[in-house]
Symmetry: C2
């Protein structure tokens, strides 16, 4: 099979391949015992910046699950680390920044870093992606990814994880000039991270706006969409745009047609989502992660329902509605893949 | 003024009083220095169960802000503590349960507690409410409150705070019988808590479903609405039903007309909300807490916009879109009240 005929890439172009493409956000990671074993003694961001480790972790779920895409193993804050920003990922908590970016002077300080620094420091990313694509040798495409400017800002302004992202949302209104400066810089930083993965061979990309659901539609349009657009504009591989809780502005998540696919979380049935986004975009999603622990007949019926509703879209990439929870039994994921491929009785 | 003419109660009945009623969720609590001083050395749940302390904390924001309602100082897990469930509130984290309720046997264990135990143990609640209403002497109404069954279950099943409430949502699908048993029990527990506050003189109640935004519309209808209805049915004072992120099923938040008012978070403009819920219900909300730190002209324009959009509803109670953040400058809240009352130039 030549890579352009891979079911994932056909679906992102709007085709309906015979084989239903399926992959899982966070398929590479904590749900796999072979991952937990490999990560012993290595901190998260160090693992992301060690090419053989990042490549191996990216490949683990391909060997195990028969999924239709690899998702690059990394973290949305990796490009910030490459830019020299002091950030660590605390286990069980998330990214924590030594110097939160809250004032105009803070924004001035961080945005004075040239985003070209990310490109210059991204060899470990290019190298890891190259190893993955060499090993996959045109059988399974690699999806590169990056955090959307808002989600990165939500961490950076707060200094760590937060529930309602009050400080980042506050900056938009209190000091819109600083906000746009920061978000514009983050768009370039995430773009450099995507470019490095594409240079390493990634055949598609996904922009994650995990926290966009805390925004109103008007705020998303004015303060977020232009910067997410900038992060994706001009990229020559298919683009997936994913957010959580973004049902109220799902059509805006198309970024004016820039996105080849829009990811949908577990809250909105795909047929409703298809009616909103129209016939020019593929949908990705949306198995509810809360059902992964349910008895198989309950979960299988849910998977079938998601697939049936996905037929209302131009094309459909099966996925979860958010990332794989760490305590997921990975054999359940394998069985979902088999069912999507018509191999589960 | 007789209490039935209080602006809050008139607005909840659907009138438009000359004075715009305004209060703030979490107005009693961490944003006030006099609260922080009073709480030194007392754990949260102990403070809730000490009548003179709970009454004093409830009254503090009335003395300071000129708000149009007192909200009873307590916590949604207090009735569970009164039922004998082992729960503490960890500062900076939230409610933590010694024994999470995850299996059918766990549900059997906890629901075997008679909800009448809550009523029998609720004298500190009645007494605190009585002290508040005696001091307010028909000038300002007291709002009693309770957690909605889903939000309580989200804590109880997980054992503490969680982001997407996977375990509680999972139980609905994996073991619907246990789910309905648990949620039905929680409805009775919260109802007993509301009744105790009403017996102590509360003139209105609010049911908080802070985590309902993690649900799909179909899930809310099947697994949540019947139990939230049970918690509020037959109550003879006005009822406010509040959720966060519930824009997709805002009309369902009316609980078939049972709610006199529906609370709206900061995501949806009130004129849009009014178009959804129709002319038979009052709206409450929805100043964005993220703007409380913005320069006053920015915040004042936002407050004016909320008030203007609120005119599309049958009636409007001004509030935030969620609770007062702990680091809020309380003088800002006072100024918002003055502006709502036409006393800020």
């Amino acid at each position: 099979m030549a890579i352009p005929d891979a079911p994932l890439l056909r679906a992102l172009r709007g085709d309906r391949p015979e084989r239903q493409p399926v992959w899982f956000m966070r398929q590479a990671g904590r749900s796999l015992p072979e991952y937990r074993e490999l990560r012993v003694g290595t901190r998260m961001l160090d693992a992301c910046l060690t090419p053989d480790l990042a490549a191996e972790i990216t490949l683990q779920p391909i060997r195990r699950h028969d999924v239709d895409a690899a998702i690059f193993f990394s973290d949305i804050v990796v490009p910030l680390r490459l830019a020299g920003v002091d950030v660590v990922i605390e286990p069980g908590r998330g990214p924590v920044f030594a110097d939160p970016v809250r004032t105009a002077a803070d924004v001035e300080r961080v945005t004075s870093i040239d985003p070209a620094e990310v490109a210059a420091a991204a060899d470990p990313i290019r190298e890891a992606a190259r190893r993955v694509t060499a090993e996959l040798s045109d059988q399974v495409p690699l999806i590169g990814f990056a955090g959307a400017p808002f989600t990165l800002a939500a961490y950076l302004v707060e200094g760590g994880p937060s529930k309602e992202h009050l400080r980042a949302r506050g900056m938009m209104h209190a000091d819109p000039q600083s906000w746009h400066r920061l978000a514009g810089w983050l768009a370039k930083v995430s773009r450099a991270f995507l470019d490095a993965q594409i240079e390493g061979g990634a055949q598609a990309v996904q922009l994650f706006d995990s926290w966009a659901g805390s925004l109103s539609t008007a705020t998303f349009r004015e303060f977020i969409a232009p910067h997410s657009t900038e992060a994706l504009e001009g990229i020559e591989v298919p683009r997936i745009h994913f957010g959580v809780g973004t049902g109220a502005f799902l059509d805006d998540m198309r970024l004016g047609g820039l996105a080849d696919a829009v990811g949908v979380d577990w809250r909105m049935p795909l047929d409703e989502a298809a009616a909103i986004v129209g016939p020019d975009v593929t949908l990705q999603g949306n198995i509810d992660p809360a059902l992964l622990g349910a008895p198989w007949p309950v979960l299988a019926a849910h998977v079938d329902d998601v697939l049936a509703r996905g037929r209302a879209a131009r094309a459909h990439v099966l996925n979860l509605g958010h990332g794989v929870p760490p305590d997921t039994d990975p054999t359940v994921l394998t069985r979902i893949v088999a069912r999507a491929h018509g191999e589960d009785a």
